[in-house]
């Protein structure tokens, strides 16, 4: 075997092997609140925020909390040590990364998915319903 192929093969195998290992280490699985509670691992939960009145951002302590309802309909209080994400109010879906801590979900990251265009801000389309 030619050395360049050998070296190439070794290099790529090593890199891909390492990356697959790292992938398995750094993946954060999508989970529901129920499974997050039982596993105790770092997960991410996709859902929607509900209850505008319970969405609080304490500027003094820089703590943000809200109520998340996951796709199965279960609710949990999410606490995040950081500012309220920009456009949080407009987010259609919210993804939180972190883990369950007692009776709430301690988020290390909050991703908000905003519509790239906002429905409703037009009177040219009759509203259904």
């Amino acid at each position: 075997m030619k050395p360049r192929y050998l070296i190439g093969a070794i290099l790529i195998t090593a890199a891909v092997g390492t990356s697959v290992y790292l992938l398995s280490q750094s993946q954060i699985q999508y989970s529901t609140i129920a499974t997050a509670k039982t596993s105790g691992r770092k997960v991410q939960i996709k859902g929607q925020w509900v209850d505008h009145d319970l969405t609080l951002y304490n500027t003094g302590t820089d703590t943000f909390q809200f109520i998340l309802v996951d796709d199965s309909g279960e609710k949990i209080r999410v606490v995040y040590h950081g500012a309220k994400p920009n456009n949080f109010e407009l987010a259609q879906t919210v993804v939180v990364r972190g883990r369950i801590n007692g009776d709430y979900f301690e988020a290390t990251e909050i991703l908000t998915k905003c519509p790239s265009k906002y429905e409703g801000n037009t009177s040219l389309i009759p509203q259904k319903q």
């Binding site: 050395p3 890199a15 003094g60 456009n87 519509p115 801000n121």
Partner: protein
């Protein structure tokens, strides 16, 4: 109606052109080639007309058209009307198609001179067939009554509203996009994508005609140019994210970013492997494979970002385009993958014999070291593809859907970068074919010693802090020193355009130094800036001095520039973070832009996060059974005992606002307790505090109660506390920010820009060499 017809005409012409060129290529008939060329020009003409019509519709506020209605509005200012052109999927496909057709014209004139027009354009026009199909599927000229027929929109309904400028209006362009970056970043990226079509078509023509070495000569300047332009597009995206989006960094390994990076990494690899083939006739198959891969990476990235498959893992948001477009994008990718790889397999036996290396593949030759470097770059591309595709792959193989943390890319790229930098340097010490091993060893170890010395010093003075930084700095110094040596030699010899490769390599070294210092020394802190109050954070004194309204002539927004004085050692500079409210989201939430204080050795990055008002009181949100410290004096803690609905139940009948109460208990450090009940009136919308209760040095009032219907026990109450010893103040504005130090960020920008300048030099050189070569033939 005319515009919709023209879009269909584009598809027809693209198919016609393609058939024409294929026929001409197979039969080798010059006359048919000429006719096909005219058809191609007609195609370009109608694509241009479509683009003009869309622009016209945007400029004239033709809100009959769904696309215009979705991305523009009467209030949108002129430069951004052009940005509205490509702010949605339909328009960005039109832009891509337009740019591809322009690249097509250049490719025609280029390939015509080389006598390979029919073959090249046969493949090129196939790309346009797919792009125009996409335009027909996602027609930018659909009318509202077509798009929203299901919702009951009719033409009559729209016509009736036409004279009402309030109602006959568009949704407007996302204000996040309304800055100059949007004018240049997307067009550059799409230009890069469009330019990738040329090397692909040339490679495929080469495969078809069995010109396994000549195509490299033909494609080289195009590969250079595409790499250069796509590189600009990528770095502009980084600038944009950093300077106005306030993401805090220039690269977040987001799927959308990754998917523009992969084609670029592959063309960068290709730049090196074509060099080897031109030198010694090796790597013939690799070059074909890489060219096909780079082009398919563009299509794959389009699929990832436009089909909605990565919807949950990207901060970029895309509306789901529908099943048909999803399939079309997959077919687009699959077709060119099968076409490329298929033809490569057909020619494979032939290719093996064409691969005649004239030199010995010596372990110390420049060829060999270059190949190692290329392998490293390809590895990086594979890793980025793996990481980006992981969520989809996981789902396909029945695993739990998962996302990948940015840490993954950073961890694996640290050693890769060090190896790339090392080969970057050493390959330039080595010579083609064979290198004097002793000399190579001597030079390398001398530079290596220099690198280790410098990185040790940096480690000693605490500029870098860990082993991997140490290694990257050392290797970056090796790369930088060797390249600077070459640059000086070439400048002395006045060979300016030969500088390209060395500039690019040196740029990578500078870039690497920048990211290492940035990664080890960046500091971030949360700062609550109260107007007139000075906060000392990260060794700077920050004072919010006030705000100024901007863009007062625009009625659709309320935009403020905050004046933040930043003082260090008696020198004051100002940073100007921006906060604005826009009709786009009905002013429900503010938009933010960071204020950046740039100095030569780094930036101070002030990213606004929220607004608040300070009246001297502090809000405390209480849950049952969770006593909390009063931040004004932590000798005291406050606890929510119960909600008091007794008075509300009495007043139920009267229709008056309801007095809702909370029973609270104060614990002092000396274990004494004080109980009281605070009331506020709730009128169905808002709370009005009943009165202020004074206990000790504090005043308390109830701001609101947030009831949790399902679980009343986790309802909360917000109580405000104010110290009586402090004079009551005027309400003051508060800007909540995240302040970061970005040391040596300029090295990142300068490094990448030098890399791009190097690529520009190489591109100019490649085109110049070829125009000289072909000049006698064409005249």
């Amino acid at each position: 109606m005319l515009a919709q017809f023209i879009v269909h005409l584009c598809l027809g012409l693209a198919i016609g052109t393609s058939i024409g060129y294929w026929y001409a290529a197979i039969k080798q008939q010059q006359t048919i080639t000429t006719y096909s060329r005219y058809l191609f020009f007609a195609l370009c003409g109608s694509i241009a007309v479509s683009a003009i019509l869309l622009l016209h519709a945007i400029v004239t506020n033709d809100f009959d058209i769904t696309y215009v209605q979705s991305y523009s509005s009467r209030q949108l200012e002129s430069p951004f009307l052009y940005a509205a052109f490509y702010s949605g999927q339909e328009g960005s496909f039109l832009l891509w198609t337009l740019l591809t057709s322009i690249v097509g014209i250049a490719t025609i004139s280029y390939s015509k001179r080389r006598g390979i027009e029919a073959d090249t354009m046969a493949f090129f026009s196939l790309v346009l067939v797919f792009l125009t199909t996409m335009l027909v599927a996602k027609n930018p000229f659909s009318y509202l009554w077509e798009t929203y027929a299901e919702q009951g929109t009719t033409r009559e309904f729209i016509e009736a509203l036409k004279n009402d400028p309030q109602r006959y209006n568009g949704r407007g362009l996302n204000p996040v996009l309304q800055n100059y970056w949007v004018m240049i970043h997307p067009p550059m990226l799409f230009s890069g994508f469009a330019m990738m079509t040329a090397p692909f078509a040339l490679a495929m023509a080469g495969l078809l005609r069995r010109q396994y070495h000549r195509w490299i000569e033909d494609a080289q300047p195009w590969i250079n140019a595409a790499t250069f332009v796509l590189g600009i597009g990528i770095v502009l995206g980084g600038f944009w994210a950093y300077e106005t989006l306030g993401w805090g960094g220039f690269w977040a390994w987001d799927p959308v970013e990754n998917s523009s990076l992969v084609p670029w990494l592959l063309t960068v690899a290709l730049l090196h492997t074509t060099l080897i083939q031109r030198r010694n006739k090796g790597l013939v198959r690799t070059n074909f494979l890489l060219t096909i891969a780079a082009f398919c990476a563009v299509l794959y990235s389009t699929f990832l970002t436009r089909s909605g498959v990565l919807g949950d893992t990207s901060v970029h948001s895309f509306v789901e385009p529908g099943f048909f477009v999803y399939v079309l994008l997959l077919v687009f990718l699959g077709f060119f993958l099968v076409l490329g790889i298929g033809l490569l397999i057909v020619r494979f036996p032939d290719l093996a014999s064409a691969s005649k290396r004239t030199g010995i593949f010596n372990l110390t030759s420049r060829e060999f070291l270059l190949s190692v470097g290329v392998l490293l770059i390809i590895t990086s591309a594979i890793i980025v593809v793996l990481g980006t595709s992981y969520p989809i792959v996981a789902e396909l193989i029945g695993q739990q859907k998962a996302a990948i943390e940015a840490r993954f890319y950073n961890t694996i790229h640290a050693p890769l970068l060090a190896l790339v930098l090392l080969t970057n340097g050493i390959s330039l010490v080595a010579t083609w074919q064979q290198t004097n091993t002793l000399k190579l060893f001597r030079t390398t170890s001398a530079f290596g010693a220099l690198g280790i010395a410098i990185s040790s010093i940096l480690y000693a003075i605490d500029v870098i802090r860990d082993f991997s930084s140490l290694v990257i700095v050392a290797t970056a110094i090796v790369a930088l020193a060797i390249n600077i040596g070459h640059i000086i030699r070439l400048i002395r010899g006045k060979k300016m355009f030969a500088l390209g490769a060395f500039l690019s390599h040196a740029g990578l070294g500078i870039f690497s130094l920048g990211i290492v210092v940035l990664a080890s020394k960046a500091e971030t802190s949360h700062v609550r800036l109260v107007e007139g109050k000075t906060e000392n954070i990260l060794n700077y004194n920050f004072t919010l001095e006030g705000k100024q309204q901007l863009d007062t002539h625009l009625t659709d927004r309320e935009k403020y520039r905050y004046l933040v004085a930043v003082e260090k050692n008696g020198i004051v500079h100002y940073a100007y973070p921006v906060v604005y409210f826009s009709d786009f989201n009905r002013r429900q939430a503010p938009f933010f832009e960071p204020g950046i204080l740039s100095t030569i050795d780094g930036d101070l990055y002030i990213a606004p996060k929220a607004l608040d008002i300070d009246d001297g009181s502090t809000a405390i949100t209480l849950f049952k059974r969770h006593p909390q410290f009063i931040s004004l004096d932590t000798n005291w803690r406050i606890e929510l005992i119960a909600f008091d609905m007794s008075r509300a139940q009495q007043g139920m009948m009267s229709g008056q606002p309801l007095p809702l109460g909370v029973a609270i208990r104060l614990h002092s450090a000396g274990s004494s307790q004080r109980d009281t009940t605070l009331f506020a009136y709730f009128d169905g919308q808002a709370f009005t505090p009943e009165d202020t209760v004074v206990i000790g040095q504090f005043s308390f009032w109830l701001e609101n109660i947030r009831r949790n219907q399902r679980d009343p026990d986790s309802s909360t109450a917000t109580v405000r506390v104010k110290s009586n010893s402090i004079q009551s103040l005027q309400p003051r504005q508060v800007l909540i920010t995240e302040v970061s130090k970005k040391p040596m960020i300029n090295l990142v920008w300068v490094g990448f820009l030098i890399t791009l300048v190097g690529m520009l030099f190489s591109t100019i050189r490649a085109f110049r060499v070829r125009s000289k070569l072909t000049a006698p033939q064409s005249s």
